[in-house]
């Protein structure tokens, strides 16, 4: 009988333990923090879309690069080379200054 009283007394004292009055405030603050984190987190589809666009752009760049064919145009080279059109060394001579 005594043991039963001791057990009852132990349980009664544990039941009388007071709860922190700010517990609900703490819980709400934590929930809000978790929700903010959740909102800030990038959705998985966005991550996949970004990865896919990087792959697509790289592939496109390589394809465009590969499709370039170098063409040889001798006439244009002749025109660009204006050493033949005008002799610049002429202006460097002292008597022509």
């Amino acid at each position: 009988m005594k043991t039963k009283n001791y057990i009852d007394d132990f349980i009664r004292r544990e039941k009388e333990t007071t709860l922190n009055p700010y517990l609900s405030t703490r819980v709400m603050a934590k929930i809000e923090r978790l929700e903010k984190l959740e909102r800030r987190r990038t959705p998985i589809w966005q991550t996949f879309a970004l990865a896919a666009s990087i792959v697509a752009v790289s592939f496109l760049g390589i394809s465009i690069g590969n499709s370039y064919v170098e063409s040889y145009t001798p006439d244009r080279i002749l025109n660009i080379n204006d050493r033949h059109i005008e002799n610049l060394s002429f202006y460097n001579l002292d008597e022509n200054e």
């Binding site: 005594k2 043991t3 349980i11 544990e14 039941k15 709860l19 517990l23 609900s24």
Partner: protein, 178 residues
């Protein structure tokens, strides 16, 4: 406001409704957790985690049982999980609890005796088989009816009655009385 209405409002994003629900049930949850962990700070920590879990799981609550039954199930499971996680820490904390135990009306010797007795009772409760402990705590800390305990534990009332009888018998055996 009924639990069902509160849940609907919480799901539609009302934090105030969740605070109301918490105010309604936090003491019950805390008392049950105390039955498992016995240390106020730990019980508050677990209670906090339980309500966060409840908030996150509410959209999946399908009204198969009463909200309070569902809440007790979460409470019991999370209390047991927390005990499994903090087995080592709890050994130290229970020693601390013995040495920090103080009441005003008792002599130091009486205090020490009570602390020692409390330690033995706590250990006796903690070493009960899991199902017996669940039934014992829900019955003695929360004073739930056998029907309600049976709902929480998904067992028949007869099975709960047996669990409670065995728990009492085991406790007395562990504490050295017939």
């Amino acid at each position: 406001m009924s639990d069902e209405q509160l849940i609907k409002e919480i799901i539609s994003g009302s934090h105030a409704a969740f605070e109301t629900l918490m105010d309604k049930y936090q003491l019950q949850v805390f008392r049950t957790v105390m039955g498992f962990v016995h240390i106020k700070e730990d019980a508050e920590e677990v209670t906090q985690d339980i309500f966060i879990k409840v908030y996150q799981s509410l959209p999946s609550f399908n009204y198969d049982s009463e909200f309070s039954t569902w809440l007790y199930r979460i409470t019991v499971n999370m209390s047991l999980n927390s005990l499994r996680k903090n087995k080592k820490n709890r050994m130290l904390q229970s020693l601390e609890a013995i040495f920090s135990y103080r009441t005003e009306e008792k002599t130091p010797l009486e205090e020490l005796e009570q602390a020692e007795r409390d330690k033995r009772i706590r250990m006796a409760i903690d070493t009960l088989p899991e199902k017996q402990r669940m039934a014992f705590i829900l019955s003695n800390y929360e004073e739930l009816s056998q029907k309600k305990i049976a709902e929480v534990m998904n067992r028949s009332e007869g099975a709960v009655e047996q669990l409670l009888q065995r728990a009492k018998k085991n406790l007395h055996k562990k504490l050295g009385t017939p």
